[in-house]
């Protein structure tokens, strides 16, 4: 009995067409959409405060309208964290879409319990060095990274679509494997292997040739039509990573190794709610075109602690950009930075941190090495974290003001402001986080 499980999204804004392709002709048992970044849930929580029916992923409706029918016809069940801060409202939305599409009898489960805002008062936060309650009214959200158990239970109960909020990303994939293979929740070896499958798939195209191409060195065929991955998983946890014939991209040993280590710290101890996964002995073997067999993962008993991600309001970032070109563009860019800094110095008490840089020179790769030839153009960027929205707006304005009151030849100024949602983390005893699912049936 092989389980076929595919990735339908690797982040909130991911492409939809490859997921439709998988839903239609992937012959999948499960299709998983991972759409929740670190601060997304805090933003969703804010949306929910304004409207109790809001707070779930904004692309949920588009995605579900695109894949629900083919998934239903092909017996493919869906798991996703698109519930964000409001899994129940998201599940109700999915049911509404199913009714619209005439899909009778489709069962949708909402998994709840990751929202631990009421339990985190005394939680020590690593990044801020204080407790969550010390954040006072700046505290927006607190969500535990839950494991696979309640997701698997929802599948056991017959859910065709399982919607959760914050869960560990690999758990979204591990849950269907636990459900289908009946793996024990203390079968650390298999949970480690299933976690590996989830980890490899959770970023979707990042294992099928996305985030990989380097022209002339690492070429990827037909990247424009890159397919999303699927895994053929065996009951012992071994798997083949592949993609659909006719899609672009590629699955090779190299794409798999890059994704194995993506956002991993100690490969021998990948801390998950369900298991400490050990990837240190993983082996990849190319067994066919775009087919890579993966084995060698294992696992150890889970820590019993769940990571909690706390979102809090942390001021506003104001940012502006303006371009300079031709001889002396770097010097004019530096002068522009100095001018903005000096003009903003009047507001020092309202600005906690600021940064000026030249895109094309020193913005994303660190300081330009001594002797670097001047590029044909640079784009000056100035950003500052401010106490108030008003001050953030002035940062953007001061960059625009460089048109008339700045160096020669500035062009293309833009500005924007955004609220900062800081994220801090701590650990709660898993026993204090009660997860459960609610099954919505017609």
């Amino acid at each position: 009995m092989t389980v076929r499980i595919g990735a339908g999204a690797g982040f909130a804004g991911d492409r939809i067409e490859p997921a439709i392709d998988l839903a239609k002709r992937g012959n999948l048992d499960f299709l998983v959409f991972e759409c929740l970044a670190e601060r997304t849930i805090a933003l969703a929580q804010q949306a929910k405060l304004g409207d109790p029916r809001a707070g779930y992923d904004r692309m949920l409706e588009r995605r579900m309208r695109a894949v629900l029918e083919p998934c239903w016809e092909n017996g493919t069940r869906i798991v996703s964290n698109m519930g964000a801060a409001n899994p129940l409202a998201a599940a109700e939305k999915v049911r509404e879409i199913a009714r619209d599409l005439g899909l009778r009898g489709l069962k949708v489960a909402a998994v709840k319990g990751d929202d631990v805002l009421e339990h985190v008062g005394n939680l020590d936060l690593i990044e801020t060095g204080c407790t969550a309650s010390a954040l006072g009214n700046r505290l927006v959200s607190a969500n535990a990274y839950i494991g696979a158990a309640s997701l698997a239970a929802a599948l056991d109960a017959g859910a065709d679509v399982v919607i959760c909020g914050r869960a560990s990303d690999p758990a979204l994939f591990l849950a269907p494997l636990i459900h289908r293979f009946g793996w024990g929740l203390d079968d650390w070896d298999r949970l480690g292997k299933g976690t590996l499958v989830g980890h490899l798939l959770e970023c979707a195209a990042q294992i099928t040739g996305g985030y990989f191409a380097d022209p002339g060195i690492k070429d990827v065929p037909d990247l424009a039509r890159v397919g999303f991955p699927l895994a053929e998983v065996e009951p012992d946890g071994s798997a083949v990573i592949t993609k659909l014939d006719g899609t672009g991209g590629m699955v090779t040993r190299a794409t798999c190794i890059e994704q194995l280590l993506y956002e991993i710290h100690d490969p021998a101890a990948y801390l998950q709610p369900d298991v400490i996964a050990d990837f240190s002995g993983v082996i990849f073997e190319e067994v066919g075109r775009d087919r890579v067999a993966v084995s060698g993962a294992t696992g150890h008993e889970a820590t019993g602690k769940l990571k909690v991600s706390v979102g809090y309001r942390d001021g506003w970032i104001g940012e502006g950009q303006i371009s300079y070109a031709g001889p002396g563009c770097v010097a004019r860019g530096h002068l522009a930075i100095d001018l903005v800094a000096e003009r903003l110095a009047l507001r020092n008490g309202e600005i906690d941190e600021h940064r000026g840089e030249l895109i094309g020179w020193n913005a994303v790769s660190g300081p330009a090495p001594h002797g670097t030839p001047e590029p044909p153009e640079v784009r000056m960027r100035y950003a500052a974290r401010c106490r108030t929205r008003e001050t953030a707006g002035i940062v953007a304005e001061e960059v625009e003001n460089l048109y008339l009151c700045g160096p020669s030849g500035g062009g293309g100024a833009t500005g924007r402001i955004r609220e900062v949602i800081g994220i801090a983390s701590g650990f709660l005893d898993a026993g204090r986080v009660e997860t459960r699912f609610e099954l919505l049936e017609d």
Partner: protein, 102 residues
């Protein structure tokens, strides 16, 4: 010889920690990669304050190294003022590193 002649790279982030994985294309280049890329050398490249902020993990069967650099992302993606708040671009700059030839 440049590091990019023998290896490829992928960068990821979690909170304020960056990780950079470097993988040799060919097994025969693994010993050279393993010897050249010490934690000290990578810390120096990234301007990390000291090697206490950096951990190095080797996966010889995959010809891969994983460097974990703590405190590298100005407080993490949500607070950082950086244009590339994830620090995803910097890993590629390692590929320009000179390697000793035999």
């Amino acid at each position: 010889m440049k590091l990019g002649d023998i290896a490829h790279v992928r960068t990821g982030d979690k909170g304020d920690t960056s990780n950079v994985a470097i993988v040799a294309y060919r097994s025969e280049d693994w010993p050279r990669l393993d010897a050249a890329l010490t934690a000290e050398r990578v810390a120096r490249h990234f301007g990390a304050p000291d090697t206490g902020d950096i951990s190095r993990y080797a996966l010889p069967q995959l010809h891969a190294l994983n460097f974990v650099i703590r405190g590298a992302l100005s407080g993490g993606v949500t607070r950082s003022l950086a244009l590339d708040a994830h620090g995803k671009c910097r890993g590629a700059t390692l590929l320009d590193m000179d390697l000793p030839t035999d």
